[in-house]
């Protein structure tokens, strides 16, 4: 969280926040471990989803068609990045941010606001769900496999770390901003479903789409920054300007999410008073 780190963890409180994070996550893992069967079901579901995703991509490449400038293995890398992001959102984003609505509906947001800790930090990190781990593993395996087939040097994986981080930040910020709108519209469970639906476009590199789609998914809903740009960095063919652009966008959206939350809180009238 490069720039965001400074704003969220101000003046040496970082240690305290890290300690709190450790407590949050160990308790939530302990709680989830009660449902071990569910974990295996989730793993099975992830594997099937993974096979299905590859099958969906294969349908394009089956007859010799290729996305302009993307070989099969290269398109697999995009899918791998997409799977990683899916894992990220089901370990951290979905379990936390989908509860904002609940807190507002039931008025339990009061208790969050009373704690001596940044409320955005609390809402965004308090649950760690191991259910996304299979996706993270599968995404990693797919990238490793495709990367080995393409003979990518190790440094390339490192090159993609930064754009990947920016992608996660962008996704988080958009999701959080949408979640925060529930302060006004209490019954807004589905707004994040719309976001999730749009992000599906990240399964394929942007060139797979017609020009209007590309414009929309770059400048309106920045899906291009989530999967295509990290994948290009990994393939060693991204222009540096795009990474910088992604960094700016990520920083700006993170600040926007923070500002928006402060703004939204002014309109919060608890459920009981």
């Amino acid at each position: 969280m490069a720039e965001g780190a400074e704003t969220i963890f101000r003046d040496g409180r970082m240690n305290r926040y890290l300690k709190v994070l450790g407590i949050f996550w160990s308790t939530s893992i302990a709680a989830e471990m009660e449902y071990r069967l569910n974990f295996w079901l989730a793993a099975l579901t992830s594997i099937c989803n993974f096979i299905g995703s590859i099958f969906g991509l294969f349908l394009f490449y089956r007859t010799g068609y290729t996305f302009a400038g993307w070989r099969w293995e290269e398109a697999l890398i995009v899918l791998g990045v997409f799977t990683l992001l899916e894992g990220f959102s089901s370990t951290l984003l979905a379990p936390n941010l989908s509860k904002i609505v609940q807190h507002i509906q039931q008025g339990t947001l009061d208790f969050v606001l009373l704690r001596p800790i940044n409320s955005q930090f609390w809402l965004s990190t308090h649950t760690f769900s191991p259910w996304g781990i299979p996706d993270l593993l599968l995404g990693g395996i797919l990238i490793g496999y495709a990367g080995a087939r393409l003979g990518l040097p190790l440094i390339n994986y490192g090159m993609s770390a930064l754009p990947l981080l920016f992608g996660c930040m962008i996704l988080y910020s958009l999701w959080f901003i949408l979640g925060a709108t529930s302060i006004w519209f209490v019954k807004i469970y589905n707004v994040t479903e719309v976001l999730k639906g749009l992000i599906e476009a990240g399964r394929f590199p942007m060139v797979a789409y017609p020009a209007t789609y590309r414009f929309f998914f770059t400048f309106v809903i920045p899906v291009a920054f989530l999967t295509t740009i990290p994948a290009e960095a990994m393939l060693g063919r991204s222009q540096f300007i795009w990474t910088i652009g992604a960094g700016f966008l990520a920083g700006a959206l993170l600040l926007a999410s923070r500002w928006f939350w402060q703004f939204a809180l002014r309109f919060y009238t608890s459920a009981s008073s």
């Binding site: 068609y65 589905n190 719309v194 797979a208």
Partner: protein, 262 residues
């Protein structure tokens, strides 16, 4: 004879009023179903080369048709039923002189009616943006489409309601549905028309219930040739198999049921 009709009419109107309260939610649900439009873009771009046997225009129509077909076959009964069993809310329903299945069934039908205006609006917007794609389906195609979406909804409902019965024995019956949904997602023709599947895969998939929920109605609407007789036969087979299983599990499950207050 009049009694059941009156009951059904009352249930429908109550549920419809209830659904109207959630209009904003419904709009968002319709918007969340944009997947067909995303895939439409990718496939239209791919079809430029002409090696897929369908033109970009045919892809556009096919995916629009999948969007419409999907609006009719959205089912969530397992989430409601599971909650009712776990929280014991099924008990008061059992006292009513009507099978609880009807309650869920009418709730889905009413939601469909409440959802329709949003879906129609989206279709109109689509044609305004992309008027070349406009087409008028044949009369026969439209009639068969209407029949097929009704059957598709029935099949999907009875399948999910059958899985819901497992809530009597396990805590999270919806995990079964979540798994089943993946098969539905990839095999129903939602991600690509079945014509593009490798022939062996297609032959196998045609014996599963999945393509009859999306691909079959969509193909009828667009005018892609399908074997109507065989399709209806497969739908009938799966629907009756699940119906029998459902009633059997219901009877077994009620004996098992010990929800709060039961």
């Amino acid at each position: 004879m009049h009694q059941p009709l009156r009951v059904i009419r009352t249930l429908l109107s109550v549920q419809y009023a209830y659904m109207l309260e959630y209009r904003a939610e419904l709009l968002l649900w319709v918007l969340a179903g944009v997947l067909p439009f995303i895939l439409m873009g990718a496939w239209m771009q791919a079809a430029q080369g002409g090696q897929f046997g369908l033109t970009p225009l045919e892809f556009a129509r096919y995916f629009l048709a999948t969007f419409i077909a999907r609006q009719f076959s959205i089912v969530w009964v397992i989430w409601e039923f599971e909650r009712e069993v776990v929280e014991g809310k099924l008990s008061p329903r059992l006292l009513q002189p009507i099978d609880p299945g009807w309650y869920h069934f009418t709730s889905h039908i009413s939601e469909r009616v409440a959802r329709l205006p949003f879906a129609i609006a989206l279709v109109i917007i689509f044609f305004l943006i992309y008027p070349q794609a406009f087409w008028i389906p044949s009369l026969q195609g439209s009639l068969l489409f209407t029949l097929s979406v009704l059957l598709a909804f029935g099949l999907r409902f009875i399948m999910q309601y059958t899985f819901a019965m497992f809530a009597f024995w396990i805590e999270r019956a919806r995990a079964i549905e979540e798994f089943w949904f993946l098969l539905y997602l990839f095999l129903s023709g939602l991600i690509a028309p079945l014509e593009l599947f490798p022939p062996v895969v297609r032959e196998i998939v045609l014996w599963t219930p999945f393509p009859y929920m999306i691909h079959f109605p969509a193909a009828l609407l667009v005018g892609i040739p399908v074997d109507v007789g065989r399709s209806l036969f497969v739908i009938f087979l799966w629907s009756s198999a699940f119906l029998v299983l459902n009633r059997w599990l219901w009877r077994k499950g009620l004996k098992q049921y010990s929800g709060m207050g039961a």
